[in-house]
């Protein structure tokens, strides 16, 4: 296979590395395809709490997953989850069907996450240290089963080192760059949808993604050279 063909195939995701963003993307498209949201929203607007809870259950796992990956902390992710859905409950009457419920709830969640990232940047917390609900340190990589044929302790150690360097590199992004990169790379959303969620244009989302990848490249360059 010629080198350029191999690069092109890798770029468009022929290999398994895209699995994570793919599964998130599939989940999102499933969420998008869920019909009857409108009926549930109208019922929730009339004060039907059961209808609202049904809506919540369609999206809450995705919301929790996003908050957990962005904050790296179960207590923080739970707080964002609570606040997002309570806000949605209080303001569901203002929902005007101008976008999907999914975009609307994600807009609330991303705003809360952005606030959280900004506060953390001010406090200069280290997100590489991840906490579970009991306040104990947790390594997200521990949760991923490494059942590949060539899995061995040395490779595992390298993966951990890489993971920690990536976490460090991500802290160098602005909250907005971090959010756009998260939604694109890890959640697999289209840039147009990301623009809608962040109340901006697709063009701005593209530029932000460009800046984010440039920064990540320069942060991770020493590691690649070694």
């Amino acid at each position: 296979m010629p080198a350029e063909t191999a690069v092109l195939k890798a770029a468009v995701g022929a290999s398994g590395e895209k699995r994570n963003s793919h599964s998130a993307g599939d989940m999102v498209s499933q969420a998008l395809s869920r019909a009857n949201d409108s009926e549930l929203i109208r019922a929730a607007q009339r004060g039907d709490r059961v209808a609202f809870e049904t809506l919540v259950r369609q999206y809450d796992q995705a919301v929790l997953r996003l908050a957990l990956h962005l904050t790296g902390s179960e207590p923080d992710a739970r707080d964002i989850y609570q606040e997002a859905f309570l806000k949605a409950y209080r303001h569901i009457g203002n929902f005007r069907f101008e976008c999907s419920f999914y975009t609307w709830i994600y807009r609330i969640v991303t705003n809360l996450c952005l606030d959280h990232l900004r506060k953390r940047q001010t406090r200069r917390e280290d997100p590489a240290i991840i906490m579970d609900s009991s306040g104990q340190e947790l390594d997200l990589l521990d949760r991923v089963s490494d059942d590949r044929a060539g899995a061995n302790p040395e490779r595992d150690l390298m993966r951990r080192e890489l993971g920690s360097k990536i976490a460090q590199a991500l802290t160098k992004l602005t909250p907005r760059e971090r959010m756009v990169f998260e939604l694109k790379h890890y959640q697999g959303l289209r840039l147009r949808t990301i623009g809608e969620m962040l109340n901006t244009t697709e063009e701005t989302a593209k530029n932000t993604l460009f800046r984010a990848t440039q920064k990540l490249r320069s942060s991770l360059a020493p590691m690649r050279r070694s």
Binding site: A3, E4, V7, L8, A10, A11, V12, G13, E17, K18, R19, N20, S21, S23, A24, R49, V50, F52, E53, V56, R57, D60, Q61, L64, R65, L68, H69, A77, R78, Y81, Q82, F85, L86, Y89, R90, G93, N94, S133, L140, L141, R143, V144, R159, L162, G163, I166, A167, L170, H185, Y186, R190, L191, K206, L209, F210, T213, L216, R217, L220, R224
Partner: protein
């Protein structure tokens, strides 16, 4: 020029965000440009590296705990809303309705204007007529509260607005909607737990109704009297399998109710859904930590009789 354009669009290319014609341009250029090909290799490698921090699935425990906490917050928010909602004028909502219904707005304005004109004319023509005050309260106890006292400076007239209380009795079939409505109200009676007990006892046979089921769930969660909570559990037993709210409430009682009798009853109700992962986790926790020996042994028994699916 072509290289600059390609490099600017490379990120969009690797994330499959380019239109077909632009994608074709990039691919064509890369075939003939070593520099851009290297750039693409670097970006592809970066994309690959970034996947070393994957998005993990949310644990069932975290999801169940978050859902329970949210449900409590929503109930609290709903109670606050119903308590204060009637006193708060929703100006934004009103404006929106006006915006959406111009014809209705015009009609309402016309009716209001006509009504106001007629009333003013009547008052002007009967300046000294005293409005019939209606029957005065016969006893002090009839008056529940006073709303306002207004005096007319030009005459000796005083206008008193007050609310009265009259003990009333309603007799009817347990299926009568008015009886059901009163029973639902009685489940919140703070004065007498016997009243709550009796109302829950009567309502538990009508748990197919959503309002009744909500009242039973609310009693199970918040009633201070364990007897009332037990009755509520009894009423909910047929709905644990199909109603996820009921299941959450029973699970919550199982984990947090301070009464061992209620917890023991809750275990029995969860028998039909014991394979559910959140139920299993709760049972595992109870089997290890519950202070009550009976509950520990029951939890162990249920766990032993359920195959572990993980």
């Amino acid at each position: 020029m072509k290289c600059d354009w390609t490099k600017e669009n490379m990120v969009l290319y690797i994330y499959d965000e380019l239109a077909d014609d632009a994608k074709f341009e990039v691919e064509n250029h890369i075939r003939s440009c070593i520099g851009c090909r290297e750039e693409l290799e670097n970006l592809t490698a970066l994309k690959h590296d970034m996947s070393a921090m994957p998005v993990t699935e949310v644990s069932p425990n975290l999801l169940a705990a978050s859902r329970m906490q949210l449900q409590e917050s929503l109930e609290q928010a709903e109670q606050n809303r119903s308590a204060f909602g009637m006193f708060i004028f929703d100006f934004a909502g009103w404006m929106n309705q006006i915006k959406l219904a111009p014809a209705l707005t015009v009609a309402l304005l016309m009716i209001g204007f006509a009504g106001g004109t007629i009333t003013t004319w009547k008052i002007a023509s009967n300046n000294h007529t005293i409005v019939d005050p209606g029957p005065a309260p016969t006893k002090d106890v009839d008056v529940a509260s006073f709303e306002s006292i207004l005096t007319d400076p030009t005459s000796n007239n005083v206008t008193i607005k007050y609310d009265t209380l009259h003990p009333q009795t309603l007799v009817g079939s347990a299926d009568d909607p008015r009886i059901q409505q009163l029973l639902l109200l009685a489940t919140h009676s703070n004065r007498d737990s016997d009243v709550r007990l009796d109302s829950i006892d009567l309502l538990k046979d009508h748990a197919g109704d959503n309002d009744v089921r909500d009242a039973l769930v609310s009693a199970l969660r918040y009633d201070k009297n364990p007897g009332v909570r037990l009755k509520a559990l009894d009423g909910l037993k047929g709905y644990v399998r199909n109603d996820v709210h009921v299941r959450d409430a029973v699970l919550e009682a199982l984990l947090h109710d301070d009464n061992a009798g209620v917890r023991a009853e809750a275990i029995g109700l969860l028998d039909s859904v014991k394979a559910d992962s959140s139920i299993r986790e709760a049972l595992e926790m109870l089997a290890k930590r519950d202070p009550n020996q009976f509950i520990r042994s029951q939890s162990q028994r249920y766990l032993a009789s359920t195959p572990h699916l993980d």
